[in-house]
Amino acid sequence: MKFAVRTTVCRVAAPLTALVLAAALSSCGGGDSGDSSNAKKSVTLWMYPVIADQAASDAYWKKVETDFEAANSGIDLKLEMQPWANREEKVSAAFAGKKGPDVLLMIPDQIPQYVANGSLEPVGDVVEPDKDKFLPAAIPGLSVDGKVYGAPIYHTVTTTMYNKTILTKAGITKPPETWDEIKAAAPKIKAAGFSTLDYSASPEATLNLNFYPLLWQAGGNVFADDGKSVAFNQAPGLEALTFLKTLWDQGAIPKSALSNGNVIADQPLGKGQVAMAFAAAPADAGTVAKTWGAANVEIGTPLTDKKQVGFGLPGGLVLNAASENSDAAKKFLSFMIQPAQLEGLSKASGFFTPRSDVKVVATDPNAAKFADALQYAVPGEPNPAARQIMSFLSAEIQAVLTGKKQPQQALDDAAKQANDLLSRQR
């Protein structure tokens, strides 16, 4: 009986092992994604659906590929479109297995960690010639420790957005532009049956779009200047959190905020139940226009408390440190940041361009207002521990909103965890 098993197992195992070995050997022979020493070098680019409309996206990137290859006959550009979903797993797996693309799109949130891991190559030489033609926040936003890691290709901006129908119903003639004005308007809006301020408090919602702008508007910072400790539990932080809590207690913030992750479409704001948002992007204006009616959308300037600040960050192309074709890749980066390419991208995607010498003709009145807000845009405070600290703070903010903790206590608790973490950073 005992041998029977061995026979079965052997019968299966033997051919299988042979199969596996054969496969392994055969694929070792042939190369994958063109890194052989042919005359043509290949540069692989991972891009995300930055351009929402698929047809427009295909058209734009095809043109980029054609134009680039025409100007650089020895380089073959391969573009691979990736989904936004689960992008962290995909990118970190690719870097871990040393099989990533040569060039890919990243935002300031991601860059410090990949730099700390030694995954990215500086691209200072690419942006150097045109350095002063970019918006003030564009290049610093993609830099870590003074070295530039990303070549900016677009710039986002957020500012206030108002639902005129609600404001009219509540009898408010001038859209609130400061914290005090919001506090004054809240009771009237509540009486009309609506919430005042949109907010997203899910732990998955980046604080760059909710708490941090308030913190900056109060004159505070997340990190201390040296980046080795946090500063959000000082007076400005307390002021911002108390502002939030006051509005929450008054019922001026929708209750579903606790699980909202910066989504507009099917949430209270999109459904026309909230009077205003303070970190709306151009795409959001388009989304709510469908439900509110385009005429009812009003764009304002970023909120002011002690400072007038909004959030806006550059998106950039980064270079994989393990790339075997970094020269060719850098040529592509230089090509991409030229006015022609950036103008086309901006038109197609609706994002702003990071170059100040490129003027994109605004197709709708709101665009002009968003462009105005660019000057107040802050790209966030990059730090390798930023995301982890965001999650500490996010949980504490939820504790405050649900009444479990007092604001100062919550801020201090978060600060303690954050400082612990920072002291452990190498």
């Binding site: 029977a4 994958d32 936004w84 439900t291």
Partner: protein
């Protein structure tokens, strides 16, 4: 435990005798079933209805108004020209896996259930153990392994690692263990070879379970998002789930999400419908010599 005093030589009937059940039971049964069915189906129906709602973020309850139904969400999602390629990839991924997993798992399950060999229990628990480590922890090591084999972005890397399905082995073992040992003893007395025992006795007896497992394996692979995402680098290697995701902007409105979902669900339902009838097969025990 009731002893097996006589070998059942007649085809088993699956219906329980109606006589002897109280009339009340006859009413509660269908009612209970229907109620559960409604609760189960409601969210699913909502998903399909929302997929037909006009784009622009109209949600419940306006979304369920049939007069506004439109195919707009579907055409937006189906606009990509790569869909045939993605579907082929998904089909390959799913169908090959079904065939291989059914074969391997039943063999391994049989071995674990009926064959005694040294280290059997430990090996079995090793299989189980791999189920207990969350895949997020093994994702990176798996990827590095596949990458070292140079299988990234290839069908080999996509399919082969998923063929070692411990859960399938576990399931097979649990079912085969129930088969009476006498069946096998008889067959060995008769001098049947290992392979014949497997194909002539075990396989027919576990047909319903095989069908069930087949459906599941198909589903697991058809709906799999993370592994094809991580392994497939280029467009030509993407499966349907991954490909559809590349068409979505960062926060797609619920209508589009549901439209994409409805599309991926259709083949799964087809497969289920096709294999359904095998599930009702009764377990037939062939006549045995006394």
């Amino acid at each position: 435990m009731v002893n097996l005093l006589e070998r059942p030589a007649v085809q088993e009937v699956t219906e329980t005798p109606v006589a002897g059940r109280r009339p009340v039971a006859q009413l509660t049964l269908p009612t209970l079933l229907t109620l559960t069915a409604i609760v189960t189906i409601a969210p699913f129906a909502a998903m399909v209805l929302v997929a037909f709602a006009p784009p622009g973020g109209r949600t419940f309850p306006d979304a369920l108004d049939p007069t506004h139904f439109t195919f707009a969400n579907f055409s937006r999602v189906l606009a990509s020209s790569d869909i045939p390629r993605w579907t082929v990839n998904s089909l390959l991924y799913s169908l090959i896996s079904v065939a291989c997993v059914l074969l391997f798992a039943s063999m391994a399950g049989y071995a674990f259930a009926k064959k005694k060999f040294p280290g059997r229990e430990i090996m079995f628990w090793a299989f189980l153990a791999t189920l207990m480590v969350p895949f997020q922890a093994t994702l990176i090591p798996s990827y590095i392994l596949v990458s070292n084999l140079n299988w990234v972005d290839s069908y080999w890397g996509l399919i082969v690692p998923t063929l070692a399905n411990s859960q399938a082995v576990f399931l097979m073992r649990q079912f085969i263990i129930q088969l009476p040992d006498e069946l096998f003893e008889d067959a060995e007395i008769d001098g049947a070879a290992e392979w014949r025992i497997f194909t002539m006795i075990v396989l027919p007896l576990i047909r319903p379970v095989l069908a069930t497992l087949g459906i599941f394996v198909f589903l697991w692979h058809w709906n799999d998002f993370l592994w094809p995402l991580v392994i497939g680098q280029s467009g030509r290697m993407q499966t349907l789930t991954v490909g559809l995701a590349t068409l979505q902007s960062q926060s797609p409105p619920i209508n589009q999400l549901m439209a994409g979902a409805t599309i991926t669900v259709v083949p799964s339902l087809l497969v289920f419908g096709l294999l359904q009838r095998y599930l009702t097969d009764s377990i037939t025990m062939s006549g045995l010599k006394a």
